[in-house]
């Protein structure tokens, strides 16, 4: 078929010498940047969580855990949260996500929600916050105090003050607690054993960061979004 170029060669518009140079440097730059970002992502710690306690309590003698529970006792799914009142990721979950969880999942009877104290040692005021919350629980106001503590983290955290008690007392007044009873309970650390027992339960269950959620037999060591939590609850309910 002399004189008739093949289909492959019909659209030749320039020869090899006039073709633009192959820009392999672009590929090299993208590959280096992409590999660096992936390497960083693989080595970084989860941003939503904080490290586990350095000095754990004695899990053998801590006694049975007593979480703070909201929702129906016979709810088909149990959401268990191990959290630290001073942990920022726990604070974001409590202030942004938890109101929706309470309203649409717990109040709707889809699940119960249990809060386990898991105070981390680097948060010096966290034990005191757990004590304040348990003392509020004594007067039936754990959850209002829980909301006050997480909502005001920046005012009483380790960075903000060495003496958080006046702030906790102002929260107690705001939610209508008996001030004298609260102060007496707080000063005596009346519920320290309960807090230790909850912390020990977390350690027994291999919790190593906060917040950690346990739902339907699975562990989720991160601050879940509402959508994620709802999907997990729905999935657990079907089992």
């Amino acid at each position: 078929m002399a004189g008739k170029p093949s289909n492959r060669n019909r659209n030749v518009v320039r020869n090899a010498s006039t073709r633009p140079k192959k820009p392999y440097w672009i590929f090299i730059v993208i590959a280096v940047v992409g590999a660096s970002i992936l390497g960083w992502a693989m080595t970084r710690k989860p941003v939503a969580s904080e490290a586990a306690p350095v000095v754990p309590p004695d899990t053998a003698t801590a006694g049975p855990p007593q979480p703070h529970v909201t929702g129906k006792a016979d709810a088909p799914v149990k959401i268990e949260e191990f959290a630290d009142f001073e942990c920022p990721a726990c604070g974001r979950f409590a202030t942004i996500t938890e109101p929706d969880v309470q309203k649409r999942i717990v109040d709707a009877g889809l699940a119960s929600f249990s809060y386990y104290d898991f105070p981390l040692p680097q948060h010096r005021n966290s034990q005191a916050a757990s004590n304040a919350a348990s003392c509020a629980d004594e007067q039936g106001k754990f959850w209002p105090m829980h909301d006050q503590l997480f909502g005001g983290q920046d005012k009483w955290s380790t960075e903000a003050t060495d003496n958080p008690k006046p702030i906790f007392e102002s929260y107690a007044a705001a939610i209508g607690l008996d001030a004298a009873k609260f102060a007496s309970c707080f000063d005596a650390k009346k519920y320290q054993k309960r807090i230790d027992a909850n912390l020990a339960e977390g350690l027994r269950r291999h919790v190593n960061s906060t917040p950690t959620f346990m739902i339907g037999g699975k562990t989720y060591p991160a601050a879940l979004s509402y959508d994620e939590l709802k999907a997990i609850v729905d999935s657990a309910a079907k089992k």
Binding site: K4, P5, N7, R8, N9, R10, N11, V12, V13, A16, R19, P20, K22, P23, I26, F27, I30, A31, G34, A35, I37, L38, A41, M42, R44, K45, P46, V47, A48, A222, L224, S225, D227, E228, A231
Partner: protein, 147 residues
């Protein structure tokens, strides 16, 4: 920059996006960086596995093939190949259809959006558009070049 170079560049970027999701799926990355949407909801859903393999793994495979073919198409041997342009357009069309199906699942079945999945969908769409423009240009050139 030629259109085939653009396709190769986009495919290479796509490899890393898909690889990021794949590494998360197999547990090598703890948390997805996800400022928009619910990446973990999407990537932990039952729709995140297709024919026994993570969707992200299919994505890595697709982008690797697209990158390999587009780089090959830059070589002198295939630089004027109309057939290579057809293959690139056809494959990217398949990738676009798969990506549209995944986006439909996110919006109407899972009810959650993953920003990295959207990024991948945009990359596939751009690859398809550039591949089709490249194919059309080469077909036009083939028609006007004297036989």
């Amino acid at each position: 920059m030629t259109k085939r170079t653009i396709v190769a560049t986009l495919a290479l970027a796509g490899i890393f996006v898909a690889l990021y999701l794949f590494l998360y799926k197999i547990g090598r990355i703890g948390n997805l960086s996800c400022s928009i949407g619910s990446c973990e909801t999407v990537n932990l859903s039952r729709w995140s596995v297709f024919m026994g393999a993570p969707v992200a793994a299919w994505g890595v495979g697709f982008y690797v093939v697209m990158f390999g073919l587009s780089v090959a198409s830059l070589q002198d041997r295939y630089a004027d190949s109309l057939g290579m342009s057809k293959v690139l357009a056809l494959l990217s069309g398949g990738g676009l259809i798969f990506s549209l199906w995944l986006t439909y699942l996110e919006l109407f079945v899972i009810h959650a959006i993953c920003q990295w999945c959207v990024t991948s969908a945009i990359i596939v769409t751009l690859i398809f558009i550039v591949s089709v423009v490249d194919l059309r240009e080469r077909q036009r050139n083939a028609e006007i070049t004297p036989a």
